[in-house]
Amino acid sequence: AQSVTQPDIHITVSEGASLELRCNYSYGATPYLFWYVQSPGQGLQLLLKYFSGDTLVQGIKGFEAEFKRSQSSFNLRKPSVHWSDAAEYFCAVGSMTTDSWGKLQFGAGTQVVVTP
């Protein structure tokens, strides 16, 4: 069965410190991997995505993620966190099967709190 695991429900980080959010997936086919962010009161916004090629992917707002096939992981990182990065982050997995219709499987989310 397909699954996406975000082991950390809640992370607190100081402004200016680095941030890493973990995502592990279990998927039979070659996965397409995404990170979305949901700011308070907002819908989800795409941060970055990986399909193939370079395993280090750059996204918006200074975020990057690294795909590690051997570890079935797609961790999100930011070198220096800003107060505006306080939000909930979702990892998602999809596949290009004939009946996928663009469906995604989402993780449970990680809530990030940024302290001064």
Binding site: V4, Q6, I9, Y32, F34, Y36, G41, Q42, G43, L44, Q45, L46, K49, F51, F90, A92, G94, S95, M96, S100, W101, G102, K103, L104, F106, G107, A108, G109
Partner: protein, 114 residues
């Protein structure tokens, strides 16, 4: 600027009422989705539609139905609302082409069923 709009940000209904949640996108996308978001569970797919009048069940369709009469509009219907349907509902759309296309999300409707 691409946009997905949802008819209400907040909705309070009583048990047994019929509830309509409306979603409209202005990007001419073929695929539209309804998700339910609950703390600790992430987003779970209720229904999706890949064309007008076409629909497919997602992971948790029980207690819900959908309607897509026009390409830009996708409605979620709770035939008889129950308290366990209190949740945040998110609509999304994406262009035809599969999972590598970005899903664009609306701001969500927070539904409370009393």
């Amino acid at each position: 600027d691409v946009k997905v709009t949802q008819s209400s940000r907040y909705l309070v209904k009583r048990t047994g009422e019929k509830v309509f949640l409306e979603c409209v996108q202005d990007m001419d996308h073929e695929n539209m989705f309804w998700y339910r978001q609950d703390p600790g569970l992430g987003l779970r797919l209720i229904y999706f539609s890949y064309d007008v009048k076409m629909k497919e069940k997602g992971d948790i369709p029980e207690g819900y139905s959908v309607s897509r009469e026009k390409k830009e509009r996708f409605s979620l219907i709770l035939e008889s609302a129950s308290t366990n349907q209190t949740s945040m509902y998110l609509c999304a759309s994406t262009d035809r082409g599969g999972a590598y296309n970005e899903q664009f999300f609306g701001p969500g409707t927070r539904l409370t069923v009393l």
